[in-house]
Symmetry: C2
Subunit: 333 residues, 2 copies
């Protein structure tokens, strides 16, 4: 406990020889024509001299608002959500809002392994990843925006156009001549992955001679390697692997190398997200760029709209196909 307590507005008032109300007026900027310039100067200099910082707890109590929102994401240890936080925090900061984060504890596999860490602060609103939807019940009544959760009637949403992204991937591969396609899928029960799988399946089903095989795995390099190996060692193996995530693609690379397959001449591989990893791999990964920072920023914008009383329209951020060196025409024969 700090032995020296911080100065209050009353201390500033005493120092400046005015009342506490006047201090609040001046420092709150509400003094248009109510306070003389001389007094304003004197109050400001007194505050400066004492190093006065307003007590946020008292202000929050008085105003009934905290100008703070809660961001709920599964983890910040994985690559994707860091930029989401950054984008959200930037927009929040521009509007004078703070952000507190809540994640699954210990990078657990899911919310069943423990509750989100509850913030000690009161919050005005919630920006929640779809993977946090179960934990939202704790905060019934708090305005919320969901990220990447699919259209929802009750809660405003900001989504990626993952189906379009997956169609672009599939179109790219089939355009190159691939017919036997393997889907290394994230074994996670989330809208975004269901939407990707459905989009891919639809494209392959419409393709004469198209064959789609599938293996599920956790979003983890090692698990992905195993899943990809299963697909590649089956009879009549695919000539291209479509991975639900760049990390999964990294596992597919490992599987291919272990089997002596060259990427892309023996096997085309695609990812999803375009995290830093995608350009560090060799060859660089063909993937769909999901603007994670933009998701956070647009989500925060929607949430602030909601807090301001407007009901924001659902937004969809397009993914962009980024063709790099991991895809080419299949080996003939």
């Amino acid at each position: 406990m700090p032995a020296v307590s911080r100065p209050t507005s009353k201390d500033v008032a005493h120092e400046a020889g005015v009342s506490q109300s006047t201090v609040s007026l001046v420092l709150g900027g509400k003094w248009n024509g109510r306070v003389s310039p001389a007094t304003v100067r004197s109050v400001r200099s007194a505050a400066e001299r004492l190093g006065y910082r307003p007590n946020q707890a008292a202000r929050n109590l008085r105003l009934g608002t905290t100008r703070t929102v809660l961001l709920m994401v599964p983890t910040l240890s994985a690559p994707f959500f860091g930029p989401v936080y950054t984008g959200a925090a930037r927009v929040a900061s521009q509007h004078g809002f703070g952000v507190v984060v809540s994640t699954w504890p210990d990078d657990a596999a899911g919310p069943a392994d423990g509750p989100f860490a509850a913030p000690q602060e009161a919050i005005d609103g919630i920006l929640a990843s779809s993977m946090a939807v179960e934990a939202l019940g704790e905060f019934r009544g708090t305005p919320a925006v969901m990220l990447d959760s699919g259209p929802d009637g009750a809660i405003p949403t900001v989504d990626f156009g993952v189906a379009d992204g997956m169609r672009a991937i599939a179109g790219h591969l089939t355009g190159l001549g691939h017919r036997r396609i393997g889907h290394v899928a994230a074994g996670v029960d989330q809208w975004t992955f269901h939407a990707r799988a459905a989009a891919l399946a639809a494209v392959v089903a419409d393709l004469p001679g198209g064959v789609l095989t599938r293996a599920d795995c956790a979003i983890d390099v090692t698990a992905a390697k195993d899943a990809a190996t299963r697909l590649l060692t089956a009879a009549d193996p695919p000539t291209a692997l479509v991975c639900d995530d760049d990390l999964i693609a990294a596992g597919a690379y490992k599987a291919a190398r272990a089997l002596g397959l060259d990427i892309p001449s023996d096997l085309s591989v695609t990812g999803f997200d375009d995290v830093l990893l995608a350009t560090a791999l060799e060859p660089e990964l063909t993937t769909v760029r999901l603007p994670a920072g933009e998701l956070g920023a647009q989500g925060m914008t929607a949430l602030l709209d909601l807090l301001a009383g407007h009901h924001p329209a659902p937004r969809v951020l397009p993914g962009e196909l980024v063709v790099r060196g991991s895809t080419t025409t299949p080996r003939t024969g």
Copy 2:
């Protein structure tokens, strides 16, 4: 603004037919022998029925403490600091503390590009990365712990043993027979990088025939590729590249590939940190594992100690050399 205001302890008191004081007593757990079991049950059920959640702002004001600490790191978009946050948040949560984060805005290159986003909440303490040291002045008087900043007389610190780690790297390479070593250094004016450079230089200086060259770059794959290319295209190029960071090593891989050099047979490469990327590279990267999550956890532990009135001793977390496929004996001749 939500039209329906949350119930207060007064509402609960009315519902249970007791006074607000009693509600506070019961829900605060301070009722040992002061309140009858029947009343306790009735208060608890009333709180449950109304969905009562204590107003944190009021509690913070009354108690003069927020049970919240501020974590200052340069960014959460880069791989390293996510686990730091996770470790810190886990320990904080176990002690009933919350965490708010402050980063450089927009992933700027440094604090000069703008202030850290100030949290809207009052905080009890600060856990700051060394890269945030400049911003610490705003919070003069708040208890703080520095991470990865080197020994400091005034502020408790938690550091990595980066010098030992670098000596392990250097010993590994020289033990393999390398004599001409290139240092792809992070061009960042921080204790941790100075310590790494000094440790490496000392080992090479003690080595008969040892030659150390150096190129600086930002912690960024593209910039690292350029820097590594400069070293590798010089006369009498190094047989091993020591990189200050795994991301820099990824750039070195790209430079080697562009020059037609095989890793490790033509060139050994080492990294630092052991982020996810290290095992996704091919071949997997020899590096020093810095336990980022442990840094956050130990730092938070030290900070909570400090808040409890104990002055924590400086702590040093050892780095561990992880030998993978990117290093071998230099090509003879």
